[in-house]
């Protein structure tokens, strides 16, 4: 492309001043940007209101897009369901029979649980979700992993509440706007979640790596007892998440734990529920480094 003449001001004072002012404004803009960047490193929530308002502004469009996306996904699922329907049907019938047996066993365990809990005089009340909403968008071009939720302060959502899908934990609310809020996903590099192995009491931290995997870091070091295929659930420590929600499945063991895949992929979830903070007093009082990391 040929150079434009606009940069050569010649003898015109006005053109010279205009050009000079342009450069000065650009430099000042870069300085302002650097200042805001430093500010938002130390006060991450300073601009949350601004971002929330901007997010609310586009939420009609993002809601519609999310609805269409889920609808089209359902359509493709229906089409692909017809493919090899016969063999799938037979397989499902076999699985169904086994599941019925397991269900009966689970029923027995449930009864026994209720009896034992009755003996111990434990309270076990039903937890109702604050709101059920769609994940309407995500920070798809940034190296941070955030999702946007189609519900905000007006629906009773507040910062810190856990977000879960029917499959497992998705993340927690980081910023809440009027009608939308920002969710810190489990895979974000700032997300740390206390977990335990589902079959026993091996406790660990599940940290996001920023590339879609979780790093499971055991708290008690020693011989690594983990095996690929182990399922991790929330331990309830920290007070944010209720215990016993599925988090991740181990795929690979390392020296101090392993690598795990999340159970509830946010890309595959349709509706998610926002739940109240499990133990607000514990969450407030917890001042461990883990919680400090979580609060960003």
């Amino acid at each position: 492309m040929a150079p434009t003449g606009s940069r050569r001001s010649g003898y015109s004072r006005r053109a010279q001043y205009n050009l000079f002012t342009g450069y000065v404004i650009a430099g000042v803009g870069a300085l302002i940007g650097a200042t805001l960047l430093v500010l938002s490193f130390f006060q991450p929530h300073l601009f949350g209101g601004l971002r929330g308002a901007a997010q609310d502004g586009v939420s009609p469009a993002t809601e519609t897009a999310a609805t269409v996306r889920t609808g089209s996904k359902g359509f493709w699922d229906t089409v692909s369901g017809y493919y090899r329907a016969g063999s799938k049907n037979a397989e499902l019938k076999r699985e169904m029979e086994i599941a019925r047996i397991r269900l009966a066993e689970a029923e027995a365990v449930k009864q026994e649980n209720a009896r034992l809990k009755g003996l111990l005089d434990l309270q076990d009340d039903e937890r109702k979700p604050v709101v059920v909403a769609r994940l309407v968008g995500s920070s798809a071009s940034s190296s941070r992993r955030f999702a946007y939720l189609g519900a905000g302060l007006n629906d009773g959502v507040s910062v810190g509440m856990p977000v879960r899908s029917p499959r497992g934990v998705v993340g927690r609310i980081l910023e809440a706007g009027g009608d939308s809020s920002r969710v810190l996903l489990l895979t974000d590099s700032e997300s740390v979640l206390p977990v335990r192995r589902a079959k026993d009491e091996v406790v660990a931290f599940a940290e996001g790596r920023g590339d879609g995997l979780l790093r499971i870091r055991l708290i008690n070091l020693g011989i690594n007892p983990l095996e690929p295929g182990d399922v991790f659930v929330t331990s309830g420590a920290g007070g944010y998440y209720p215990p016993g929600i599925a988090v991740a499945i181990l795929t690979e063991t390392t020296d101090d734990g392993g690598l795990a895949r999340i159970v509830s992929d946010p890309a595959a979830t349709d509706f998610v529920s926002v739940e109240p903070i499990f133990e607000p007093e514990a969450a407030l009082g917890a001042t461990t480094p883990v919680e400090r990391e979580l609060s960003e």
Binding site: R7, I25, A26, A30, L37, S142
Partner: protein, 183 residues
């Protein structure tokens, strides 16, 4: 004369008689297209990796390199402000980097006034690479090797998308300069 050639009194931007450009469209299209580029990535599904190219930055680079002299040097600040509201990076990141990018292109242009498209693509590639690396370093999270590796597909996509963005800008430029107004 029209009977022989109906387009004899018009050019690529429409009829030259009785028509004029719309100043609003001519001035607003670059800015609006960049803002739309900033907003578009949030519509993508919440994938595990940063896969969607920073479309706002891509449009800014394309407008600046394909149509030099149209965006002022300071355009990085207001456009970066909008991008910061939607990108998920810490607030101020795009204001800072986009301003620097605009100044950098200004410097490149004063060094190499006559450039071919592949030179523009090269400088856009270098700028995209440094932008994404800066985004990885200044994301507000702990930068680690894994998230750096996760950046590679996005980087490749973004650099490969630049010629398409340049084509889109050329198309929008024709739209921008079409003679809409009847005088």
């Amino acid at each position: 004369m029209e009977r022989n050639d109906p387009r004899s009194r018009s050019d690529a931007y429409g009829s030259r008689i009785n028509r004029s450009h719309s100043p609003i469209i001519a001035n607003a299209v670059p800015w609006i297209s960049i803002v739309i580029g900033s907003i578009l990535p949030i519509f993508a599904i919440a994938a595990a990796l940063p896969m969607v190219p920073p479309l706002g930055l891509l449009m800014l680079l394309a407008w600046r390199l394909v149509r030099p002299g149209l965006l002022p040097v300071w355009a990085g600040m207001p456009l970066g402000l909008v991008d910061d509201l939607y990108s998920g990076q810490p607030f101020g990141f795009a204001i800072f980097t986009w301003s620097l990018i605009m100044i950098a292109i200004e410097l490149i242009e004063s060094r190499l006034p006559w450039r071919a498209f592949w030179q523009d693509w090269f400088s856009a590639g270098i700028l995209i690479l440094s932008y994404l690396l800066a985004g990885w370093l200044l994301s507000g999270g702990q930068p680690n090797v894994h998230s750096l590796v996760a950046l590679v597909p996005q980087l490749v996509f973004t650099i490969l998308l630049f010629p398409i963005a340049a084509r889109i800008v050329a198309m929008l430029d024709r739209f921008r300069l079409h003679r809409w107004k009847a005088v």
